[in-house]
């Protein structure tokens, strides 16, 4: 009963949130709606018993991807009013595409319900109740899939090298932090006492 209520609530919020993502006038609002959608989907995962995926969705998508979107939307100087000009014109086409997608998804779901996609194939490992998701994934991640796991780590490393190669520039007139020099400054080298006549005041040029 409670699960049912939770499911319909979360599902409804996810669908409405998804709708608002595409219809919201302000792109920043779109991103905020997207975060709401992610949260409700995470709730749905918890209901399915996949709490690790739920955490992943919150940490990765809400924590990193959505915030990145927010930054990009706020920092890029895009004229969103002009971007939305064709909205009404493209709406019928978009509706047709969305309708086809929905029909396909329903068809696939029906087929899966009837026969099961991999009905005769190797049965996937059944989740046992005495082990949490995280534990189950942890057990295979560093044993059965250590090869893939390490390779995926190198993929991320390459992305990092790439970002540095393509964006890092050593410009001559950029002031950089030099911790050693900064810490080793003492009063003698950093401050100079200049005499000033009483009542005459000082101008900035005199001090340099």
């Amino acid at each position: 009963m409670l699960t049912g209520i939770a499911f319909y609530l979360l599902a409804a919020v996810a669908v409405v949130g998804g709708l608002m993502v595409v219809t919201a006038k302000n792109p920043v609002h779109s991103v905020l709606w997207l975060i709401l959608t992610f949260f409700s989907s995470a709730g749905l995962f918890v209901l399915l018993g996949a709490e690790f995926l739920a955490m992943l969705l919150v940490v990765v998508y809400v924590g990193a991807v959505a915030v990145l979107f927010l930054f990009v939307v706020m920092m890029l100087d895009v004229d969103f009013v002009r971007l939305r000009e064709g909205y009404a014109r493209y709406l019928p086409l978009a509706a047709i595409v969305a309708g086809i997608l929905l029909a396909e998804m329903i068809m696939i779901s029906l087929v899966v319900v009837q026969g099961g996609a991999a009905a005769n194939a190797v049965t996937p490992a059944v989740a046992t109740t005495d082990m949490t998701n995280v534990e189950a994934i942890g057990r295979v991640l560093y044993t059965d899939y250590v090869y893939i796991f390490q390779a995926a780590g190198i993929v991320l490393l390459i992305a990092m090298i790439g970002a540095i190669v393509l964006t890092l520039r050593h410009k001559p007139n950029v002031k950089r932090q030099k911790a050693h020099d900064q810490v080793n400054r003492d009063r003698k080298t950093a401050v100079e006492v200049k005499g000033a006549t009483t009542g005459a005041g000082v101008s900035a040029e005199d001090l340099i």
Binding site: V122, I161, G162
Partner: protein, 481 residues
Amino acid sequence: MPDLISALQLSASEATLAVGGLVLLMLGAFAGEKSARFVSVLSILLLLAATALAVTGPLGQAFNGAYVADPLAVYGKALIFLSSAVAIVLGDGWMKRTRIARFEFPVLIVLASAGMGMMASSGDLISLYVGIELHSLALYVLAAFHRDDLKASEAGLKYFVLGALSSGLLLYGASLIYGFTGSMRFDEIAAYAATNASPGLIFGLVFLICGLAFKVSAAPFHMWTPDVYEGAPTPVVALFATAPKVAAMVLIARTLEGAFAGSHDQWAQVLILISLISFAVGAFGGLVQKDLQRLLAYSSIANIGYALLGIAVGTTLGVQAMLLFMTLYVIDQFGFFALILSLSRNGRPIRRIEDFAGLRKDRPVMALVLTVLSLSVLGMPPLAGFWGKWAVFGAAAEAGYWMVGAAGLVASVVAGFYYLRIIKLMWFDPAPEGVEAIDRSPIEAKTIAIAAALFSFPLVMVALTWLEPLTRAAAVGYGAG
């Protein structure tokens, strides 16, 4: 624990490259930009060591079937790692001349080679995907490596966006295959698909082929090729044209003939269609090109059609022909790109085709090299390219696909027009006005170009006597037949 040790012994070449790449990265980061030459030399040694490890290492499966070391993988890896090493040699000189020497260049190539090695010996869908991502991510960065060059940046961005699209297609196909068979491993997929090739499975397979065809730039998934070939730095293009293509072709052979041997009829149709379109696009698209690197892009599309035809045949002979074809093709391509790197007039590289006019006067040796290489890629007997095409045509004819092979020959005749045009310009037309200085060729590029031309003829005759048994061992050892 002994399981892990034997697995590491099997995958020693990739492990060496990955760990060595990290060490070189640290070395470069601490030693600064001046270490580019030193890191390049060490990278080449690392690649040679990885080749030796791959060739001498044990054969078998590791990591629950995710990694397969068999003669096909070993042959592919030797070719891939050696090609990467040659690309580093070309790239090192180029970086020095353009004054953008950075130690990340060889490191990225080493890490990309580790990914290509993974591709060549992938035994399940996850290692297939991770291997592809590992090598392509590094290649996207390399394409845009000359970041102040507008065209290089454009090439990098285009390659990245279209590569991401193809990865999406590939993943969609892989997820469908997993959904319908319940397994990631090629041998288990094969066992399931042999009895029960449902339409859903074939659907996923077609998507997988589309994703892989992107990576080898076969038409109609070739859109990125001309722009990337034109924009990216020449040594990087030399790498693109060789090692990743070999890795992807080995991967296609392994996936289709390993996991889907039972549904050969279905995927052979798709591959033959792709070959035919590639022949047409490569031959006719090349006719209107003005830039030599763009022309080579179209030439590569047509040639990949041949290699795919070898796989489509579906016999051991076909795989052997594909391997032989790719080996000879790789050597020709290195010759071409080394030649482009070694030619410049007035301090500018010669890239436009009409600039080749009168090359006979400036550089008779280079003109001869370009002539030999052009005729070889064209498939003129008895040059290297001919033997590759001969092998593929033989395999196709034996399996009853001689019509497709004949279409490839027609494409070669059409492509002959643009190669003969370059040859005519070089030998019979006067040099363009205003040539003040003929720049000296960089020694490494010149050496590689001449060596590739010498290989095309006459060394290929000697090489064939040992390439033929090697490729046969690779194709048979895989058990494709």
